[in-house]
Amino acid sequence: MSTSVVEPPTTTKPVLSARDLRIATTSGYEILHGVSFTLQPGKILALVGESGSGKTTAGLACLGHFRRGLKHTGGEIHLAGTGDYGNILDLPEAERRKLRGGSISYVPQDPALSLNPAMTIGRQIQEVLQVHHYGDSEEDRRARAKEVLAEVGLENSETYQRRYPHQLSGGQQQRVGIAMAFACRPAVLVLDEPTTGLDVTTQALVLQTIAELAERHGVAGLYITHDLAVVAKVADEVVVMLSGEVVEKGSTAQVLYQPRHEYTQKLLSAVPDLAGRRQVGRVAVITEEHPAINLASGHVTAVQALQIPPSSEDRSNLLEVAGLKLSYGSNKVLGGIDFSLARGESMMLLGESGSGKTTLSRCIAGLNDDYTGIVRLNGHALSPGTRARTAEQRQQVQYVFQSPFSSLNPRRTVCESVEVPLQMSGTLSRKQRRVRVLEALDQVRLGESYLDRRPGDLSGGQRQRVAIARALVNAPALLVCDEVTSALDVSVQASIIDLLRTLQAETGMSMLFVTHNICLARHISQRIAVLQHGRIVDFGSTDEVLKHPQHEYTRELLANVPTI
């Protein structure tokens, strides 16, 4: 496939070139089918694709590293500065080790997992300098560690270097990872989704650091990601991968604004954007196919429509939260939350990790009963804790968890998982339950064939659909979605968002959509509550909050949203 794509004309000699790279599992199943790309000094190449497309495998191959169970079956990787520009995959392991962290370094996806938790950050940076014999003395290496910490915008005092990873925030941890990668002045940098877990403000800072350093030191970067908005911000060139093959490559402008391959177009159309419409001509907006909401006229109409309910009963709010507080010891998690949610309304609860958004949604669902304050459903105060609530109240509020990989019991079939809420009410026979399960699966666009399959056979998106079906099976009035798309690829995220909107229009249920991703706002919610340090700092209709943010934090988030 890669051969059919025309190589862009190169002016300088590439620092690294991968040619026809083939990697297979040890049992013989090929994962990369001949991938080729080149990296230019001072330029960043983005390797785009969804999980399972082989992009990380290709990135690690550039360092001559293959994960357990994978082996190199063909192709070459040439790195400038290694003898006569030889194939590094031919080198013995000891030689390849000397390249890693020295001439070519790696920035991992999740710094929380990739920094050694039992070593101070100073020592971890020193270590990479030591093993590559950087400088002439211990003194030189200490000076370099200080220098590189300053370069990534961190404090470089001795006391700061004595900190452990858990004493830093996510953004700081990632910058330590970047400092470690830059420490030995590498020629090539492989970045594996380095900003995935970070909020947009921190992401912007990290991206800026990377771009600056790469440019200043003439480092060639390979940026692995599935987020096209980030690609637009950092990359000079883009390679799009689909199941182990390169389907499109070219300059960033060319790939993002004139995508030729169908898959690239699909990926682009799946990127949520803040404005709710693409600046780029031909690309479809994900909610456009959605019949319930007309995007051109905006969500404001939808809110207004909702504010004129048909019957008097519907005029009352479905959910009211008043003075909700929760603290663990001296640690105040929630400091007095008040809001209400109308019938059929969808509200986004926006906040970074640690803002208390998940705790709040768990309190509402009764999964956390340590709170004080009042949660009212249909005007009746709910007891804290699901055990103290009636079966009917429990059925009214349903919860969908972040990771469909851990929220479904791997030993149960889809039918067994989805019918659990029905078993709990205990009024239906086995046959009736199966019919209801089938209806719910139908609602989430999964057919009868899924009934007896197990989560292991399903993709992430299908699993999340099953989890949503389980929440729907009792026809709830309120669906609490806790970061339901965070563990999914962008294209799958789009289909899940689409599904949730459709379901909401079909069933008229209310929805509380908890997320850290402000870009989803216009695609999912009529109102936004921005949560910071356990308080709602900004609240209003989506349009209002996005156009006239009241709080500094919201303004900062909005300023840092990457867009295509």
């Binding site: 080790r97 370094s105 790696y106 990739s114 270590e127 093993v131």
Partner: protein
């Protein structure tokens, strides 16, 4: 960190108190009268009454418990009913002998277990790994007396008559003067304990080897030996320390069977004798002692956990 350790210490003291209460109540429930046991069936009622008075057996139970506990805290374990001498003098030698056995077994099984487990993890899926996991599974399935008897059969009967099957140190002489007699009992304990340490070490090591920071260390170009020693081992050790603690504690109690098997003059023998002779004071002292070993060893394992985890060490402050 100090706060955490102090809390652990306080809990340990509380547990020890609870154990002392249990031991005391349990010995109360033992059939028979200690005074009768000391004086024998022919004792006159007057003498029995006098002895009861002397041993404070007529006091209310809580008062007896408190005075016993008070004596314990100053190291007074009371007077042996069987020999008439102080318990501490009777047990001193036995405790020493058992300690020799435990220390010998522990100092072999811990390093061997850690090394073999690490080797096994590093050679995952290869022949060496299959052999060690298979062997450790078989050994873990065998009870200590089976291993002991098997060792005796092989090494001290007709097959290889090279080692003594029982301990026969002349009274008053220390066991460690006859090292060949120590081999079989110590080896039995080693063979019982090592498989658990090996298996646990292999399991945690495998998990750690698959972790992000080990991969990162390799991608930093750190030499493999340093990756294992500096990045992998420290994280694998803390869970293994818990298993080692349980194994050491088991040895303190499980030594009873092994000592009985080899007629080894340690606390296990002493406990068996004490129960047979209704020697309440000795049985109480030994039970408390073994419980204390359990608690201390677990406390040590917790400390290892705290020391290898900077999150606990630094109190989680950001």
């Amino acid at each position: 960190m100090t706060h955490l350790i102090l809390r652990r210490l306080a809990t340990s003291v509380l547990i020890l108190l609870a154990v002392s209460l249990l031991v005391f109540v349990a010995t109360l429930l033992l059939p028979g009268d200690p005074a009768q046991a000391i004086l024998g069936q022919q004792a006159t009622p007057e003498r029995l009454a006098a002895l009861r008075e002397q041993m404070n057996l007529n006091d209310p139970i809580w008062q007896r418990y408190l005075s016993w506990l008070g004596d314990l805290t100053v190291g007074d374990f009371g007077v042996s009913a069987a020999s008439g001498g102080p318990v501490i003098a009777l047990l001193g030698e036995r405790i020493g002998a058992s300690l020799v056995l435990l220390v010998a077994a522990a100092s072999i099984s811990i390093p061997v277990g850690l090394l073999v487990g690490t080797y096994s993890a590093l050679h995952r899926g290869r022949t060496g790994d299959h052999i060690t996991t298979g062997a450790s599974l078989v050994l873990a399935a065998l009870p200590e007396f089976v291993i002991g008897i098997w060792l005796i059969t092989v090494f001290s009967t007709t097959i290889f008559p090279i080692l003594p099957s029982v301990t026969m140190a002349p009274p008053g002489e220390a066991v460690w003067n006859y090292p060949s007699q120590l081999v079989l009992p110590a080896l039995t304990l080693v063979l019982v304990v090592t498989p658990y340490i090996t298996r646990m070490m292999r399991a945690t090591m495998l998990e750690v080897l698959d972790s992000g920071y080990v991969e990162m260390a390799r991608l930093k170009g750190v030499p493999e030996r340093q990756v294992i020693v500096r990045h992998a081992l420290p994280h694998a050790l803390s869970p293994v320390a818990q298993v080692i603690a349980i194994q050491l504690a088991w040895m303190a109690g499980g030594v009873v069977v092994v000592e009985f098997l080899f007629r080894y003059p340690g606390i296990g023998q002493a406990l068996v004798d004490a129960v047979a002779n209704r020697d309440v004071q000795v049985a109480q002292a030994l039970s408390i002692l073994i419980a204390a070993v359990y608690i201390v060893v677990n406390l040590l394992a917790d400390m290892v956990g705290i020391l290898t985890n900077p999150k606990l060490r630094t109190g989680g402050s950001r």
